[in-house]
Symmetry: C2
Subunit: 129 residues, 2 copies
DNA sequence: ATTGTTGTACGAATATCTTCGTAAACAAAT
DNA sequence: ATTTGTTTACGAAGATATTCGTACAACAAT
């Protein structure tokens, strides 16, 4: 399986693309520059490199190119999670889960969803025993 | 608050130190080289740099130095989680939790622990309403 | 004492990431 | 047609991370 390792800056860009969908460099840059301090050409260059690396696709049919994420959020999440669980949480996923639950408030709804999820997993485990 | 940003390789070393406790370069290297391919002096150099950065402490009283992690696993976990939730999971901790639960088998005990944790959090939320 | 082994220190090469200046293409406005 | 603003392309500098060769010190075994 192909190992994708986006850098920190690349993840920021992917994050925006995942949320907003296909975007121009200008759009990405405007959003990023709210929280970060970098020139326009920096963002441009990054996205060009990401295109070379095949992290992004782009449509060059008009003068202003439109970029799209070429890797799915899900897959990227899973990959980064796996590595993190492995190196930082000593291999224990539930350790990570509890740490995450502890320090971020989630709405009651979200907690309820997680609870249902737990139940489903436990049920599945019983069946496969 | 001081932002710590260990690199990938540094995290690997920290991971071993957190698990095994104080260790020599040789011990760390032997473990890492099971899954990674790097020379001994590379590991040594990395740990020396980490000591300069104050990521590691070391005892130089004997010829063979003994290194210890200078930052806690908990704090590092939290910091990395926060950033990850922010950039990769669009700010949703529960999104991360479900993704993590989905693709890693946890024992029934662990799941039970998480369930209790959930209950505690929900109770707390009610009280603070 | 000589040899072999294991360790640290140091410097430098290499690789990778990040940043930005500059030039050229293009379109809209004057 | 010239100016102005927006965009891409490119190259190169700067910053950071990774890798390893070499030298030297400590020590054990012969």
């Amino acid at each position: 399986m192909k190992q994708i390792r986006p850098t920190e800056s690349e993840l920021e860009i992917l994050g925006v693309l995942w949320e907003k969908g296909p975007s121009t460099v200008r759009e990405i840059h405007d959003i990023l520059s709210q929280t970060k301090d970098a020139g326009y050409t920096t963002t441009l260059k990054l996205m060009q490199i990401m295109h070379e690396k095949e992290l992004l696709q782009r449509d060059t049919s008009s003068k202003t190119h439109v970029y799209t994420a070429a890797i799915s959020q899900q897959k990227t999440q899973q990959q980064l999670l796996d590595k993190m669980i492995d190196t930082v949480f000593g291999g224990s996923a539930s350790q990570l889960v509890m740490q995450a639950l502890g320090h971020h408030q989630s709405s009651g709804e979200e907690l309820e969803k997680i609870r249902q999820y737990l139940t489903a997993i436990e049920k599945e485990q019983k069946e496969n025993r």
